[in-house]
Symmetry: C2
């Protein structure tokens, strides 16, 4: 439900889609709130329709379910940085995202593979938000270990690990900084710092 007073909902200067406004990246997941197979399929259907360079669709996902695959889940948790392990172990589902680093037909490098995967995960994340789920993405993991754990073949590259679930109780988090972050407003640069008009550094005209 939209809640204008929610501390993690974006305070925007211009109206935006409600799923974008409400999306945030929690660390506190509810380990008892499972994700259904239907919900997972919706997430991947959303990712599926993202655009990509030459329609390569370089993204791949390995789903590791805490309850159904406890050994694989523990192994994937083991690829994370210690700080990420502490909170991510309570998520009901982890996803390993891998991208094909080469163009399928030619075998040439695909410099936009990671960029395209970002869009697919962005779509997945907004679909999750719409379903009352939340997503936190991690670059803090060992890609070589994750390759072994999930048996990712060349020329695919492990890119991020994603926790998916429902928001849980911040008090279950081990670190005070993590508990506090669950309630602090999100911060972003103002538009004037990242959007320029015609050439770098010139402010976007408002009329």
């Amino acid at each position: 439900m939209p809640d204008p007073s929610h501390p993690k909902h974006a305070r925007t200067d211009h109206d935006i889609l409600d799923v974008i406004r409400r999306r945030w990246s929690p660390r506190a997941f509810d380990p008892d709130a499972d994700i259904s197979a239907d919900e997972l399929h919706q997430l991947f259907e959303a990712a599926r329709w993202a655009p990509s360079s030459m329609n390569e669709q370089p993204w791949r996902f390995v789903v590791v379910h805490a309850r159904r695959s406890p050994a694989a889940f523990a192994a994937l948790i083991g690829t994370l940085t210690p700080r990420n392990q502490e909170w991510a172990r309570l998520a009901p589902v982890l996803l390993l995202v891998a991208v094909r680093s080469t163009i399928e037909k030619s075998g040439h490098p695909n410099p936009h593979a990671w960029y395209d995967a970002g869009q697919a995960v962005g779509f997945l994340t907004l679909q999750a938000t719409d379903a009352g789920l939340a997503v936190r993405q991690m670059q803090g993991f060992d890609p070589g270990l994750a390759r072994d754990v999930c048996q990712v073949p060349e020329p695919f590259e492990p890119t991020v690990v994603i926790a998916v679930g429902r928001v849980g109780d911040p008090e279950r988090l081990a670190h005070e900084a993590h508990r506090t972050a669950e309630l602090q407003p999100r911060q972003r640069r103002p538009i004037g710092e990242f959007v320029f008009d015609e050439v770098w550094g010139r402010s976007l005209r408002t009329g």
Copy 2:
């Protein structure tokens, strides 16, 4: 307006957000349908709230408006491949996306900069769809030329050029293949080809 019979709207196996279902990448833009400053600000507000590794927000946008900045617009068109030039010259606005390739505080490389920019552009694209606008992204451009044209400093990297506008008449496109593509259903891999369960190659369980 949602139109279930629109040839470019996704034919999905699972329900997804309407803005994801309706998003597609046209080549035929209406050169007479301008984009307002308010609309542009909404697009960047949506991009602004995308997640990024360590909240680096590595994305930057240079807005080049066909009517307001005709010389700069022609110069940016000149960085595109000949095939992209043919259709993109009718778009009312082009955006050059550049990413900061290094972490701001440490100066170390940021391997997730392009991935994060993909998410920001994904959010921008869905915001555009919601506003009745359309977006086509291009990797077919000369990044070195685009750097010069838009005065992109190091350590930023030109990543994609984006056309934004309202969908126009396919008959104005020069190439038959481009005209046809405006009406052909979009194609994607089935979920079974890019989502795996626990390990690479194993099908996602449905129950």
